[in-house]
Symmetry: C2
Subunit: 283 residues, 2 copies
Amino acid sequence: MSFRDHIARCNNYDPARVVPLFAGADRIGLVRRDNAEALARFPEVFSVSGNMVRLAAPGHAEAVSLAVDRVVDALVAEKQIPKTRNETFDVAVRWGAPPLFRLDRGAVPFFGTRAYGVHLNGYRRDRNELMLWVGRRAANKRVAPDKLDNVVAGGIGNGHGLLDTLVKEADEEAAIPSVLVARAAPAGAVSYRMETTLGIRDDVLFVYDLELPADFEPQNRDGEFSGFTLMPAGEVLDRIRRSSDFKFNVNLVILDFAVRHAILRPDDPEYLDVATGLHRRLD
Amino acid sequence: MSFRDHIARCNNYDPARVVPLFAGADRIGLVRRDNAEALARFPEVFSVSGNMVRLAAPGHAEAVSLAVDRVVDALVAEKQIPKTRNETFDVAVRWGAPPLFRLDRGAVPFFGTRAYGVHLNGYRRDRNELMLWVGRRAANKRVAPDKLDNVVAGGIGNGHGLLDTLVKEADEEAAIPSVLVARAAPAGAVSYRMETTLGIRDDVLFVYDLELPADFEPQNRDGEFSGFTLMPAGEVLDRIRRSSDFKFNVNLVILDFAVRHAILRPDDPEYLDVATGLHRRLD
């Protein structure tokens, strides 16, 4: 797949196929029309009209979360949503705003609420060549089994911040000690909007770069990775261009790294597609 | 002005106010409706219908350029376009494609054809503090007189490439020797779409970073800058947030630098607006 194809795949969202989910005056999600129909059976929680869904459950975040949980449980029982992940994400009007409710991670695309993650590019320089640590996802992962991945990546669960998520995931996924993680440099965010079988992924990935020492080798502790490989960054880029070996959104995170570190250069015919295709404006 | 305001100012484009300019099957520009009306008087060069303008001049790039020049000269005589700049930009279907014609730089926003520039962030580290060289534009510049600017910036004129533009501008604007410029690292592109009094700026700025030696001081040769100052990058960022002292698009280039170099960090309330607001997707 070309770089353009990877970007297009993560941005296959078609506004004609969704209706907005509102909480008061704020849009908080994007619900595919078939999913909106399914929600119409729960009018005490979601009020569905022809062109929008409105959060109707009253009360504070705890009460709303319980009401939404009941809807999710019913849809899981009907197999409209896959089995719950037992990990919840905060739903809020915007990043940093107080959460309106928490939502099972597995149900997030059904409602198209924005999800946030952290991705860490672990790299080092060997004789002036930039090398990237690449993880292979375990074969039993629900999303993108056996695909190649960043050395550390994770969703930001409810009540968690960026840094504690990064420290926790770095420890569990790659055994990177927190003193090393503290040196990670924030380097922006990759954003995209993608339709999946379940609904809409409206994702924002906070990106960090971490130069790892030559004597450090990542080791997985939680069974989410089957192993790690150190690859020249240029080879990683070729592999992305030629294949779908990397998880869909990891292609974008590594392309962003490649632009920022001048691994991908302006003489590449896809340079501008990449440089302007990785940061969907938030609305 | 907040960071958001600077980004919004460069993206105030409203599709309802323009019609597309086509060459064959390809959109090559965005013409404001009042400008399209003015072009209707030149049917041998531009065919104007209610909802589009079509390049009608026949022949190869040279013949089309001469035909378009005659239109531009007539509009300059009527003061619909400011005096020509005697510098031309290539107009093409996309970056790297063969030019369809060349257009006087001063007329580019009238037609809303895409323009390309190079911007160089010149920086150095003083005792671990990142410092940016900032230029002040001459008071007699037509665009953004007396505003602060990158140390080197320029439009990519017809027939010129990125690197020769960068080398030429770095020499003329800041007396940076070509051996130093050769170390500049490409770091992506900033893109935005802005309505000005004349029409639409559909701009792509190729961004380069160059670490300058401690004993180097930029010196202007061509009268386009009145001087240069070395400022801590954090102070530059504060100044951008508090003022409009920098040229409109330079705010965006420096915000991009600040994200990539972790000067702007995720705890800033505008972080995601900035990280996702500087790279308008090309269409």
